[in-house]
Symmetry: C2
Subunit: 474 residues, 2 copies
Amino acid sequence: MVLHIVIDRDQPLGEQLLRQLRGLIRSGRLATGAQLPPTRLLAEQLGLARQTVAEAYERLTLEQLIEARRGRGSFVRALPAAEAERPVATTARLASAERIAAFQALPVPLLRFADNPLARWDFIGGSPEPALFPHEDWRRHLHAAQRQLGQGGAHAPPAGLAALRESIAEHLAYARGVRCSAADVIVTQGAQQAFDLLIRVLVGPGDVAAIESPGYPPITGLLQAQGARIASVPVDEQGLVTDLLPLEAKLIYTTPAHQFPLGVAMSMERRRALLAWAARTGAVVIEDDYDSEFRFEGQPRDSLQGLDTDGRVAFVGSFSKTLAPSLRLGYVIAPPALRDALLHAKHLADVHGPSLLQNVLARFMAEGNYRKHLRRCVAEYAQRRERLMAGFAGPLAPWLTLLPAEAGFHQAALFKPGVAIDAPQLAALARRVDVGLYPLQAFAAGRDGLLMGFGRVTPDGIAEALGRVAELLA
Amino acid sequence: MVLHIVIDRDQPLGEQLLRQLRGLIRSGRLATGAQLPPTRLLAEQLGLARQTVAEAYERLTLEQLIEARRGRGSFVRALPAAEAERPVATTARLASAERIAAFQALPVPLLRFADNPLARWDFIGGSPEPALFPHEDWRRHLHAAQRQLGQGGAHAPPAGLAALRESIAEHLAYARGVRCSAADVIVTQGAQQAFDLLIRVLVGPGDVAAIESPGYPPITGLLQAQGARIASVPVDEQGLVTDLLPLEAKLIYTTPAHQFPLGVAMSMERRRALLAWAARTGAVVIEDDYDSEFRFEGQPRDSLQGLDTDGRVAFVGSFSKTLAPSLRLGYVIAPPALRDALLHAKHLADVHGPSLLQNVLARFMAEGNYRKHLRRCVAEYAQRRERLMAGFAGPLAPWLTLLPAEAGFHQAALFKPGVAIDAPQLAALARRVDVGLYPLQAFAAGRDGLLMGFGRVTPDGIAEALGRVAELLA
């Protein structure tokens, strides 16, 4: 580890050293509190006499740029604000300026949620209960897996570790009626990367892509980045209105198990119509199955992928809802015609995902810990869902109606007809009494209501928080 | 966790169950060896009498599809090959077929290396010595970091954890003369994702991008995926020949510290010329600094980014060479004009990277373990480099010349004029005596020689392996 200083043997040595050290400090490259190398070490590194370095340090001490701490060495002092060098210019004219501006203007609607601290009772969507995280089992597998770090060749397989793909295929066949083997699985950096790879491989500038309206916002940004034309297709109480799909669409993005954000499950009739439409037009259907592992009532419905015998459905899932979003583990079950293209896209995007985490998850699934964990989650979320329904049937009934959902860990609530309440304003008021509310209109323009995630509030917390909201409304 | 079976109350119950279980097994969705749920559990789940489920299991046993193991339950038996159901069709006509084929045809030259097991003495490039991995320090920080798993909001910041960005900025200012603060750092999934994000934000269909020739192959695939026109600019003994850069290029990708694959460092004159050219044309320069932390002789040269006062250089680095490629940790230091666009691109690509690994690396760097580790690596690789040079100056001198490189952990070797040896054939022969060799022409068409990585062979191993190669050539 070497401090970046370049010495030209043909110039005065001490002066060069002093000038560069001063520059490093003034520019902030050596930050306040940073320790300078011992004079002996720096002298050796630069091929200078130790005395030359010591003199430069003395000079910097006189300039109040560094200070010597007895027995510990020399440290950078805080600079008077005026001293700090002007950083790099921000006004460079760049040939790609237009393209850069277009990227900067893309909608990234979830970005801002990351910055807000959660309220004490926070109904944020898509965030599982941290207390449910299976720390003990996870830690055990982590210790075993970490011994393999740094082993193997330069890189792991872009599709993901074989053991993990096996476990995912088995889980999906068993729990979601998906037709697949390990060879069909590509492990991704969360579901988001699966969407990115699919969209890059399927649509280019000017191509039409159909999405549900209302729908999952990050898909819009991805399609815009590709220059695609977006067809918004409405959702009713049976799910996506397949009669309104445009014939020229090259892909359709849908959430059949638990429509985002409204929560409805797609009817069997619509599922069949969608597959027939895809067979007629040659479109690929992206089935986003983001949180259907949490099922509370009714029989599970066949996945679109399981109904498809034609290889037109790409099934996307995630461990963000069942374990933790910060793991960034998701997958796509690729139809045979897309598999190689998706693998190339994955390789170009980031070569492959971190093998340590894949290894841990593979062990966790193979030993049955994942099944056990899902059972625990479903039991816990079922309780929360009941408390949520009780709250909306009770204290909140005058103002709001909860939309039905069989699965998943959020529900949408709509203001009743005639109720004139501004959801963002309600959310702002609720924050003051420690309740986090999310206006539905952020996800579904024109639908006035709330998106109620129950991943971060305990059953008793839900009762307490909904009572507080009712007081605000009364 | 629920077996995916859908029961229609209006049809004979036992028959439906039997048919679906059979289908699950024959299609491989319930794989050989998989355990069926206990009859009591499945009966409860489906709302059937336990006897109905038990009868279905008996029938499947008679059909030799499952077997009961005493006291353990029922398990799927191996199917005769002919029994297995025909999987999903692979011939669906897809509207995006052309685009899919184009992606499938993209060059992903590193993909095939992941499949080959390493030879006993393997001169693969880009792969660090596993024995150098700092297991003890890493494990300590991993244990501390894993307690935070599942904590926090739904998502971490797309730019990466603040503590890690601080440490990276400090390290780069100190060791590589980079002008940056934590706000300029975007943590990526290896360097590859940094290139992907930069290229997506900077070039669209028809735009010109300049790359070094010979150069790093995965960049070509990324540019082709964007539909860019590629200008290959030659490299000489001073590095990139800046006089030959095309004025219309919107970006130039370069490896100034250690040219890939030839190893030359870019001269100061060329660095200045490159920055002047960028100022004139508005191009962005991507500086790939992939393994320059390993420096063995000469003064470190200023990074292009450190020389740039205009905000035209995006500096990309990686922990793949210094720690392990499987961690998938890299970063880009974004010029101010690109920062927001890159953050949007990162958010759309995968939201953010796994926070567990970022957390571990942040602790590892903050406690000085990274500096200590780099010192160990440089000392070890310096020894290997000497043995490599000795081998090429000794036993291999009649056939090959090692190209000079001040930094990095691979060197290129060229066949001497008049030596008529086919590098791929030599590599095939070497495999038989347990030596892994990599023809240079895979990375640099027309350059006949070898790419000699010294990350995976010990000093004594290098002497032994080069002796074996000399025997093959003699």
